[in-house]
């Protein structure tokens, strides 16, 4: 029976550098496989909607105006998304990927969680649209 079995552990840790990472000031880089916010590549997407069907949380909506000319409207709900990357696995064209840097998604108003991207065959322009 030892009375203070943690004694040397406690004493040693007094002189060791604390284990704490000073997060907001010194952020360690996140692993590159981190599943952060979903990124949609308008060029590769061919509007097959496999991702919309396989998403367990109804977080993606895709309106297809013209598949050939690649004119789509793509709604992404960050607050519904459960970051499981099933859509990335289901997408045959590799148009979807999860960013490993954008994971601080906290925000004060709910509207900011819904993002709408309009693809006009030429370039992608993201619009801040209030959720319909």
């Amino acid at each position: 029976m030892k009375i203070a079995s943690m004694l040397n552990d406690v004493f040693v840790s007094l002189f060791k550098r604390p284990f704490t990472e000073l997060y907001p000031y010194a952020a360690k880089p996140a692993p590159e496989r981190l599943r952060g916010k979903l990124l949609w590549d308008e060029q590769k997407c061919d509007g097959c909607k496999l991702c919309v069907r396989d998403c367990p949380a109804r977080a993606i909506e895709l309106e297809v105006a013209d598949r050939a000319a690649k004119i789509f409207v793509y709604h992404y709900h960050m607050d519904r998304c459960i970051y499981c990357a099933q859509c990335v696995a289901s997408c045959k064209e590799g148009a979807l990927s999860m960013s490993s840097t954008l994971y601080h998604l906290a925000s004060a108003d709910k509207a900011a969680f819904t993002e709408v991207y309009r693809a006009k065959g030429t370039g992608v322009c993201k619009e801040e649209e209030t959720p319909d």
Partner: protein, 310 residues
């Protein structure tokens, strides 16, 4: 003229403001040490001050079915008791602001007022957790109070006086009493930890069992006064023990070194042990604490009768 001096002593220097700031500094040192023992960074230096001010500006909820006067009065009484106790103790190494023959007993009594107020506060509210918390606080009070008093009597018997400043003076001239009365020192230090309900003895406010014990219903000012009262009591207790056992406090440097050394020991003890159940604490005090204190006293009296110069 001495009215002005007395007022300054009461409000500014050895009295109110200095003790409050000193106790906040000591709470910071305590939390920082525990955090460093647990290998983490711990709070910033102004954290206790921020906590205190935030609690003061928070809304105070008085639960229903509670004696309003008692609910608001108890925290003030607890803080007042510990602040007055600070006047009799050689704060900052200088002579105590007040002193008369027998002020040791008054100081110990004032220090005990805090636990009494917490016990009453817990019993006053109808919340079940605080009822359990107050019964535990009072049972623990009766377990450590006697050995703690005996442990403080040792040095005063050796010095032959009941006046703290004289015991302080006696301790300065002679061998440190931690050497001549080691048992008394141990009981006094552990007794102080029991009085302040520091971790091994924090059954009365065991967070995982009874939320926060007697203080569950308090918020805002009441909570701020209770927490501040406990910090002041920590400072006063440490000064008292270092004045008696660590060769008296001659000057502010002595005061700072010795009290911080004692704080280091208590912070270490806090992070070493799991929380004792209330019956284990009571058993520990009556079996170990009281016996040690009595043996120490017996030894002392016998030596004094034989005229040995301690």
């Amino acid at each position: 003229m001495n009215v002005v001096l007395a007022l300054i002593a009461l409000v500014l220097f050895p009295g109110g403001l200095f003790v409050i700031l000193g106790s906040l500094a000591f709470e910071y040192a305590d939390r920082k040490l525990i955090a460093r023992f647990q290998n983490r960074v711990g709070p910033r230096w102004f954290q206790p001050l921020a906590d205190l001010v935030k609690l003061l500006v928070k809304e105070e909820i008085v639960p229903t079915g509670v004696n309003r006067g008692l609910f608001n009065g108890l925290p003030v009484a607890a803080l007042a008791a510990s602040l007055t106790a600070a006047l009799y103790v050689p704060m900052a190494g200088l002579a105590p602001a007040w002193g008369f023959r027998g002020d040791l007993v008054v100081t110990v009594y004032l220090l005990m007022m805090m636990t009494l107020c917490i016990g009453l506060a817990g019993a006053n509210t109808l919340d079940r957790f605080s009822l359990i918390g107050s019964t535990r606080a009072l049972t623990q009070l009766f377990s450590y109070e006697a050995p703690f008093l005996l442990a403080l009597l040792g040095p005063s018997i050796a010095a032959g006086t009941w006046r703290i400043s004289e015991v302080n003076g006696y301790a300065r001239e002679n061998v440190w009493m931690i050497v001549t009365q080691p048992l008394g020192f141990v009981v006094a230090l552990i007794g102080l930890m029991g009085k302040l309900e520091l971790p091994p003895f924090d059954a009365p406010e065991a967070e995982t069992e009874i939320v926060s014990g007697a203080l569950t219903e308090y918020s805002g000012r009441g909570l701020a006064f209770f927490r501040l009262g406990r910090d002041v009591e920590l400072l006063v207790g440490l000064t008292l023990i270092s004045a008696f056992y660590l060769g008296g406090l001659a000057n502010p440097l002595h005061f700072i070194l010795k009290t911080l050394a004692l704080l280091f020991v208590t912070a270490g003890l806090q992070s070493l042990f799991a929380r004792l159940r209330i019956d284990q604490t009571v058993g520990l005090w009556w079996r170990a604490g009281a016996v040690l204190a009595l043996v120490q006293l017996l030894l002392l009296i016998v030596l004094k009768l034989l005229g040995v110069r301690l």
